[in-house]
């Protein structure tokens, strides 16, 4: 049994960590946090040069052709660094959708551009309140044009293209949904930025008015493709969340070692030690669940839907837990804009919603476990 990343993959992780420590310091993240730029363009360019954007994209489409385990270790470092770039929208959602359902021409058009850092992609799924569900897709597609409103769309304001979920039928079933590919530079979409929990990752409202679109995948297959994309993204996001949990735990631990109160290190008080021990427990459970997700993702195992839901839940809980208690360990200073704790708190809570909320994934997990037991 080798339920671990390989030495090469660990080396890649170290390389990514080193790169991000240099190019994505908290100071650099703050430039985006303070609204001076919508994302870190220099970093994005650097990620392309390092080959990280296309690490799981096959060589024939301009990627490194490594694989999803490699992408998992990079995702973990992106989360750790709280990177203010549209990595998850572009790489986990848009690129994965193209890899699963794109025609050869579509892949050739967009995947090399993603790998080169020249195209930002996103998935336009949500339409206001509610979780992923065919019922919640109201935007229509007819005669090759889309009409409707999507919000929130992660990185919508900076995206060059979007994968859009649209209604093409009215039977009330999953087959009513189809996916479309929209070149956002071609017009027909009005984009409005939305103030959101985590300013280091933009959210937008996108209004489609007779917007030209080409089908992505077969008509009526949209929901089935989306489900696969969401499962794959759930695993990859879980690694970001694990990375974020690790960093939040480290920050809390370091502060508990440095800060003196009542004449001693606050990390010598059991109330603080136990809080940090519990954070370690959450992060460890999340890491192990995510490893299983990584295995299922990289081998396209039948277990992927269940593994993805478990990784998603566990990692979401861990990041929220570590981020909020990191602030608690820091006390008053943790609640200042000046300290970095709130950046992780914001990211943790935004990520907890991005692919559908915790309660949605809880529901998914139980459905999938029942399916497995019935089989």
């Amino acid at each position: 049994m080798n339920f671990d990343f390989s030495d090469d993959q660990k080396q890649l992780r170290d390389q990514a960590r080193k790169f991000l420590a240099e190019k994505c310091s908290p100071k650099a993240v703050r430039v985006v946090l303070d609204g001076k730029t919508p994302y870190d363009k220099e970093l994005w360019k650097g990620l392309a040069e390092m080959g990280f954007l296309g690490v799981a994209i096959p060589e024939e489409f301009g990627g490194a052709g490594a694989g999803h385990l490699e992408l998992c270790v990079i995702a973990q470092e992106m989360g750790r660094a709280n990177a203010p770039v549209p990595f998850s929208s572009t790489v986990y959602l848009a690129a994965e959708a193209l890899l699963i359902a794109g025609s050869d021409a579509q892949k050739k058009r967009w995947l090399p551009a993603i790998a080169a850092g020249e195209a930002i992609g996103t998935l336009a799924l949500f339409e206001g309140k509610g979780n992923p569900s065919p019922k919640n897709v109201k935007l229509t597609a007819a005669n090759g044009v889309l009409n409707g409103v999507k919000k929130p769309v992660a990185d919508g304001a900076i995206a060059d293209f979007a994968v859009v979920a649209a209604r093409t039928g009215s039977s009330g079933r999953e087959g009513d949904i189809s996916l479309f590919l929209v070149d956002l530079r071609a017009g027909g979409v009005e984009v409005k930025s939305l103030t959101n929990l985590d300013p280091t990752r933009g959210q937008a409202e996108m209004t489609f008015r007779d917007c030209k679109a080409e089908p992505l995948g077969a008509a009526g297959e949209g929901w089935s493709i989306l489900s696969q994309v969401l499962d794959r993204a759930a695993v990859l996001c879980a690694f970001e969340q694990v990375g974020g949990s690790d960093r939040a735990l480290e920050m809390g631990r370091d502060y508990a070692l440095d800060r003196i109160a009542f004449g001693r290190q606050i990390g010598s008080f059991q109330a603080v030690k136990h809080m940090l021990a519990d954070m370690y427990v959450s992060a460890t459970l999340a890491r192990s669940n995510s490893y299983y997700g990584a295995w299922a993702l990289s081998t396209n195992a039948a277990e992927l839907p269940e593994a993805a839901a478990a990784a998603r839940i566990s990692a979401t809980q861990a990041f929220q837990h570590c981020a909020k208690n990191n602030i608690q360990v820091h006390g008053g200073m943790g609640f200042t804009w000046e300290f970095d704790c709130h950046m992780y708190y914001r990211r943790a809570n935004a990520m907890a919603l991005g692919l559908g909320s915790l309660s949605y994934w809880e529901d998914q997990l139980i459905d999938r476990m029942r399916k497995k037991n019935a089989a």
Binding site: M1, N2, F3, D4, F5, S6, L69, L249, R253, A256, L257, R264, Q265, G267, S268, Q270, V272, K273, H274, L276, A277, D278, Y280, V281, T284, L285, A286, R287, S288, N289, Y291, Y292, A294, W295, S298, T299, A309, A310, I313, S314, Q317, S359, W361, E362, D363, L365, I366, M369, R370, N373
Partner: protein, 415 residues
């Protein structure tokens, strides 16, 4: 990343599987499978006798204490082979419960500190289950603070004379031998005046009294020592170095990686899958599903954490500190799971007799046994201290009694 055995591992697994399939006491398999925390009795057989017979059979064929050297009754196996054996032994491993302390703690301590002739005499019958051992550390005045123990050992010629009381000794009532931590010098700070021995539990002056637990069952004992004499050659380690000896014992306490810890989750998932509530099947109820999902990811998180440790063993590496979370997570989880299962039963959840209760009262038994799991072998709080200090590197607790002679440490909180 894969879950495949190496060729050598696969070969070992096949041999182990074949032997278990041909030799295990299959007539008890179903009953053992259904047993859960708080319920490990067999209906028509004495579980101690069945356990001893299975252990002897394993020993005769070379399947006892796999990781021990052959000279001492083991097989000289690698850690990963031991894990594979545990996986293959499956539910029959539940029969090993009475040997866990002897094999997991007393044996390794004897191996590290006993004289060679004692090792050759005492270890093989310990491995084969013919002799059962217990561990006599905890005292009324020393639980989490085990170095606060007060049982005295005083030198008299070539012998030591023991007086005092131990508590929470698992299996003392059926044990043949025990390892005993005593105080040999009360005038020095507490960690510096302890000495370890092993002794025959049938020695004159040893009295074992079962403790009736909060659950109503009696798995543990108090052991009283009145002028019990132990020859000096049964001393383990140097005089007054017993604390260091005990660390060897305690380090081995939670080394059982492959066996997995009980969380109660599989039982609860099964129960909810068939339970009908007023509005329909429990498993379709939103609130039930949310609870189940939260426990599911804890159970799977523990399972994959232990697989990561097994992978390290398979590669010949030492497992990381991750496994220290197992007992902490599982202990409170099984308590919460049992509480929730009863909640789902409504008022009838109060009925606990196996004949009348839901699913033969398994969750009621689990609930009543659960508080003990959060205390035994290190309380939740001690486990959190261990994670905080050894894994995260946080400062140790400030010990106000560290440099105080033991006999000057206050013994009462009030009055």
């Amino acid at each position: 990343m894969n879950f495949d055995d190496t060729p050598q591992e696969a070969e070992f697994r096949a041999i182990a599987r074949a032997w278990i399939s041909a030799n295990a006491p299959k007539q008890y398999e179903e009953e053992l499978r259904k047993s859960s925390l708080g319920r490990t009795q067999l209906k028509n057989a004495n579980i101690l006798e069945v356990a001893k017979a299975w252990q002897k059979k394993k020993a005769d064929a070379g399947w006892a204490c796999l990781h021990w050297p052959k000279d001492y009754g083991g097989r000289g196996s690698s850690p990963i082979e031991r894990v594979i054996w545990q996986q293959e032994e499956g539910v029959f491993g539940k029969l090993s419960q009475m040997f866990i302390i002897g094999h997991g703690m007393c044996g390794p301590t004897m191996m590290a500190f006993a004289r060679e002739e004692h090792k050759r005499t005492y270890l093989p019958p310990l491995a084969s289950g013919e002799k059962v051992w217990c561990q006599l550390f905890s005292e009324p005045a020393g639980g989490s603070d085990v170095a606060g123990l007060r049982t005295r050992a005083e030198k008299d010629g070539d012998e030591w004379v023991i007086n005092g009381q131990k508590i929470w000794t698992s299996g003392a009532h059926y044990s043949d031998y025990g390892i005993l931590l005593t105080r040999t010098d009360p005038t020095v700070p507490k960690h510096k005046g302890l000495t370890m021995f092993f002794l025959d539990m049938k020695s004159p002056g040893v009295e074992v009294r079962p403790i009736k637990q909060a659950s109503g069952a009696s798995d543990f004992n108090e052991v009283y020592f009145t002028n019990v004499r132990i020859p000096d050659h049964q001393r383990l380690g140097e005089v007054n170095d017993g604390w260091n000896v005990s660390l060897t014992t305690l380090m081995n306490e939670r080394m059982s990686i492959g066996a997995g810890v009980a969380t109660g989750f599989p039982e609860l998932f099964d129960y909810c899958s068939s339970l009908m509530l007023e509005d329909g099947p429990a498993i379709e109820d939103r609130a039930v599903r949310s609870k189940l999902a939260n426990w599911a990811v804890k159970a799977s998180g523990l399972r994959y954490t232990s697989m990561r440790a097994i992978s390290a063993l398979s590669k010949g590496e030492r497992p990381g500190p991750e496994n220290s979370i197992g007992k902490l997570v599982a202990g409170s989880m099984i308590q919460d799971v049992a509480t929730y299962a009863l909640d789902l039963q409504g008022a009838s959840g109060v009925v606990s007799g196996p004949e009348d209760a839901e699913v033969a009262g398994r969750f009621q038994a689990m609930l009543l046994r659960a508080p003990g799991t959060r205390v035994e072998g290190g309380t939740d709080e001690i486990m959190r201290n261990i994670i905080a200090e050894r894994v995260l590197g946080l400062p140790g607790d400030i010990r106000v009694d560290k440099d105080v002679p033991f006999n000057k440490i206050p013994t009462k909180g009030r009055g």
